[in-house]
């Protein structure tokens, strides 16, 4: 091999990915960029007076919008789905033996208490009215938030230049105007991405340290604690450090076929529930994934908990607490990702786990693997979505919703359209909210929100009327007892619900 030939072929390969010129479609999309008025950051860190003025103006604009704005026609979009609002959607797997029986039998369902008392408006939500947007500085990013007292606490990052982010902790009274309570250099750009409450304490967790492109490099995740959301201190836990030492944290090696999915290593998710905290993550060996499940009663002392036999090659993607802990992901995840099979596990206290029933006979086509994605919990059930790519058919992609009443047995609805269940969704343990339009088949999203739905079980969905279209591409959103906090690429928005009574 000559260097010259290698470099020539490499440049050709790169051009194969990127082409030479930006496509005309992009130029067309950018043609009106400078017609859009620049947004001043006048509302960021607004004081009480300014908040009041903003609230008055927002209310007036909203009232005017409701009066003059035509209602978005959400009916046809729903009716295009085969039967998204019926809970009797046929499951092709009913009555069949599960194809995956990883060892221990699922424990019998136990009564599930309502996980989170709400202080929001009573009655079922029937609509959302978006606030005026509040535009933060470009450098501010919220990663997770919780209601706290009369307001909200959030964790995230502030970009300080040079591609470096610092950990940041925020509070807000209204979910729109946030103040930075603490900002610190956590080393190598680490910043908190998960926020949970345990008793009177708040705990924030970073994922593995991220580099300038936001991908994990190395190092154990970090923990911070606070009792009031304003003063934060690092948690120095030797058992936490020890739990992550010696594990692979970083991008998957080139020998793995990551085209179907790209497993995330290091800390992935944290949940607070009965018996304390459960943190999940992934590492890998040469031939398979290695799941990491950690339990703690106080956030300071952590124990590594094994998953039941039959969980070899497990890749974990999400954990929630809904009376019990429920983890979803996949098993048999190896260098050839097509082997992956969706899987779930349950635990009453986070220390003993059993495999849930996930019947996949006839679900995955030959030559395809799949895994469960993010998991959300409503008052009456749990929802996750499975995505896979059928390798033999090229670029065909599939995504289907799976639901469970208690986490121990899962049902897939192959004939149910993925919208709204597999649009962007979030939940607070009481209700699940999905915002649309659904992700496009290309993996991109249409900008903004033109449709919204709510569900308490992930099966039966009711559309929410929207007073106006929200035109800001989604970064993430949260469901809170009194509404929806939407972090767009440009601005924050608050969706205030209307209710049935």
């Amino acid at each position: 091999m000559t260097d010259e030939r290698f470099e020539r072929d490499l440049i050709d390969a790169l051009r194969g990915i990127a082409g030479q010129e930006a496509p005309m479609s992009l130029r067309y999309r950018l043609s009106d960029i400078s017609d859009r008025p620049p947004i001043a950051h006048r509302l960021w860190f607004a004081g009480p007076l300014r908040v009041s003025v903003v609230a008055v103006v927002a209310t007036a604009v909203l009232a005017l919008a409701i009066l003059v704005w035509p209602s978005p026609d959400v009916g046809p979009a729903l009716s295009e789905s085969p039967s998204p609002t019926t809970s009797q959607a046929a499951s092709p797997t009913q009555g069949q033996s599960p194809s995956y029986e990883p060892g221990a039998e699922p424990v019998e369902p136990t009564p599930v208490p309502t996980p989170m008392p709400t202080t929001g408006p009573s009655g079922e939500w029937t609509g959302l009215a978006w606030s005026d947007p509040v535009t933060p500085p470009l450098t501010v990013h919220l990663e997770d938030l919780l209601p706290r007292g009369d307001g909200y606490v959030a964790v995230g990052r502030v970009d300080v230049g040079g591609g470096v982010s610092e950990a940041a902790f925020f509070v807000s009274e209204d979910g729109l105007n946030w103040t930075v309570e603490d900002q610190l250099d956590a080393g190598a750009g680490g910043f908190p991405q998960h926020l949970v409450a345990l008793g009177d304490e708040l705990l924030a967790f970073s994922e593995p340290n991220l580099d300038a492109l936001g991908l994990p490099n190395a190092g154990e995740p970090l923990i911070w604690r606070s009792t009031d959301g304003t003063d934060w201190t690092p948690v120095d836990s030797s058992s936490w450090r020890s739990a992550w030492s010696g594990l692979w944290i970083g991008p998957m090696p080139a020998s793995w076929d990551t085209t179907q999915h790209d497993p995330e290593t290091g800390l992935v998710d944290v949940a607070s529930g009965p018996g304390g905290l459960v943190a999940i993550g992934n590492s890998f060996a040469e031939e398979e994934m290695i799941p990491v499940v950690l339990h703690s009663t106080d956030g300071r002392t952590w124990d590594r908990i094994p998953l039941p036999p039959g969980s070899a090659g497990a890749s974990l993607s999400s954990v929630v607490s809904r009376g019990r802990f429920v983890v979803v992901g996949a098993v048999a995840v190896g260098p050839d990702e097509a082997t992956a099979v969706p899987a779930a596990w349950i635990s009453g206290d986070g220390t003993t786990w059993s495999a849930a029933r996930v019947p996949t006979d006839g679900v995955l086509p030959d030559g395809a693997g799949g895994e469960f994605g993010p998991l959300v919990a409503g008052r009456d059930g749990l929802l996750t979505c499975m995505g896979w790519r059928e390798m033999s058919a090229g670029a065909h992609r599939f995504i289907v919703p799976w639901t469970s009443t208690d986490g121990s047995t899962w049902e897939v609805a192959m004939d149910r359209d993925a919208s709204p269940a597999c649009a962007w969704s979030a939940a607070d343990g009481e209700r699940i909210v999905a915002l649309g339009p659904r992700p496009l088949p290309t993996g991109t999203d249409s900008p903004g929100v033109t449709m919204a739905w709510t569900s308490t079980d992930g099966v039966t969905w009711e559309s929410l009327s929207l007073g106006s279209t929200l035109q800001d591409r989604l970064e993430r959103f949260w469901v809170v007892p009194d509404g929806v906090i939407y972090a767009g690429v440009e601005s924050f928005w608050f969706g205030t619900p209307s209710t049935s009574r």
């Binding site: 091999m1 290698f6 072929d9 490499l10 440049i11 050709d12 390969a13 790169l14 051009r15 194969g16 990915i17 990127a18 082409g19 030479q20 010129e21 930006a22 496509p23 479609s25 992009l26 950018l30 960029i33 400078s34 017609d35 859009r36 620049p38 947004i39 535009t135 990013h141 230049g161 591609g163 580099d211 300038a212 492109l213 936001g214 991908l215 991008p251 080139a254 990551t258 085209t259 179907q260 999915h261 790209d262 895994e371 994605g373 993010p374 995505g387 896979w388 790519r389 670029a395 992609r397 995504i399 992700p439 993996g443 991109t444 999203d445 591409r473 970064e475 993430r476 690429v489 440009e490």
Partner: protein
Amino acid sequence: MRAALASPVEDRASEFSRRLDAVLDRSFRLAAVILHSREDAEDAVEDAALRAWQHFSSLRDHDRFDAWFGRIVVNVCRDRLRQRRGRPTSLAFDPPSDADPIGESVERAALHQALATLTPEHRAVVGLHYLEGLTVDQIAERVGARPGTVKSRLHYGVAELRAAYEAAEREPGGTDR
């Protein structure tokens, strides 16, 4: 030269459009290489352009627009990569649409595959170096990393690609056979 009767806003919009146009092709290529998807790259560059326009007035030295916008593109790509990690990942991968497996040599096909499995940060430095011809220091400024880190990524990334390339040469149909 400014139009004599143009308002300051028109001036600003005109200058922004001109500067954006000058960097659009290479910004798109950078996003496409990092995200390994042209469709995602279109979205990312549009997001970056909108952010840049809304903050254009805060850019004091307009001659540094190229590096400033490049940094925004990298940040937007970072955000999109992080978003991908929270979603069913079958939605995240788009094969390069120009790949022509029939017309490709075994080695080039191997490079395509190796580039797909390379991490985005390694793809970024490899792309910026080989596609855009940037130096290590220029790449460091563009991606917000130290020059030593860029050197390391370049070394590691190229080593991975070379290994795949050399393995392909030894396969049936490879040039070493």
